[in-house]
């Protein structure tokens, strides 16, 4: 049986390394993605994601076990990423991901995929910070508007607007490259 986040959090609060490690392993994907959405640079984003987990451990007594652990953690991660971004004035990178060009594709297909990915990275990086976070939480992490509003501390209507405008900008940036995106 899979141990719940609440049970793991209680054990982590008592200093249980395995429990805290299980929490980190379980949530590292979403926390790192949110950090990357905010910061851009993957190394700085991982630094922020680590800071977020340490901060979560530091204040784990404030977590209410009757509520989901994910939004509580994502709120901390978002703040940690924004803090790091402010502190370092991180230079966003739009590096081409090498994975896309090496997976069983013809050179032409690999190049096309790489260009699509490059466009996505550029378009996403050009979005305002809050739109990047809102789109990531909504489209990638699957949070509802209300949950995102709670995480970001803004009205739900603002989140809806951010998601709408962010997605529209991304679609417009990618539409010329891939017309099928019009149907999404």
């Amino acid at each position: 049986m899979v141990e719940s986040d609440g049970a793991l959090a209680a054990r982590a609060a008592a200093g249980d390394r395995d429990a805290f490690g299980a929490l980190v392993a379980r949530h590292q994907g979403s926390v790192r993605r949110v950090a990357r959405a905010v910061i851009g640079d993957e190394h700085d984003a991982d630094d922020a994601a680590q800071d977020a987990f340490l901060s979560a451990l530091d204040r784990i007594e404030t977590y209410d076990p009757s509520r989901p652990f994910g939004p509580w953690l994502i709120r901390i991660a978002t703040n940690a990423a924004i803090d790091l971004l402010r502190r370092r004035a991180v230079r966003r990178t739009v590096a081409l991901d090498e994975r896309m060009s090496s997976r069983d594709r013809s050179p032409a297909a690999a190049a096309a995929a790489a260009e699509l990915r490059e466009r996505m990275a550029a378009a996403f990086g050009a979005l305002p910070e809050r739109q990047r976070i809102a789109v990531t939480l909504f489209d990638v992490e699957g949070y509802a508007h209300a949950e995102i509003a709670e995480i970001l501390g803004v009205p739900e209507g603002t989140v809806r607007s951010d998601v709408f405008h962010g997605r529209r900008s991304l679609r417009e940036a990618l539409r010329m490259f891939d017309p099928t995106l019009e149907d999404e």
């Binding site: 200093g15 790192r32 451990l57 991901d97 990915r117 489209d139």
Partner: protein
């Protein structure tokens, strides 16, 4: 588009190295928490004292003790002179002081 965005944001690793790095940085905090939990489990009998032995509790106890003692002091110290004064006044103002003295001497 969602899948493309997810792929763009998802790290290209299984997360183990990241998890180990977090655990390494958290080792001090985890140790302190573990030590604190152990210490707390070792001395449960004193928890009530730690919880209740606050300055205001001590101050209230001192105040109560003071309130119990202070009224007794004037009563005990003031009784004897007042009694003595009333006895001597009775002797001086008695209609027959010699008789009173004789009774006293007889005793």
């Amino acid at each position: 588009m969602n899948e493309l965005l997810k792929r763009h944001l998802t790290p290209d690793d299984d997360g183990r190295a990241f998890t180990e790095a977090v655990l390494l940085r958290a080792s001090g905090a985890l140790y302190r928490r573990g030590a604190g939990a152990t210490a707390g489990a070792d001395a449960p009998a004193w928890e009530w004292l730690e919880r209740w032995a606050r300055p205001w509790v001590v101050a209230a106890l001192v105040a109560l003790a003071g309130a119990a003692l202070v009224p007794a002091l004037p009563r005990g110290g003031g009784w004897a002179p007042a009694e003595a004064a009333s006895a001597s006044d009775a002797l001086l103002t008695a209609p027959a002081p010699d008789l009173v003295l004789a009774v006293t001497d007889g005793n």
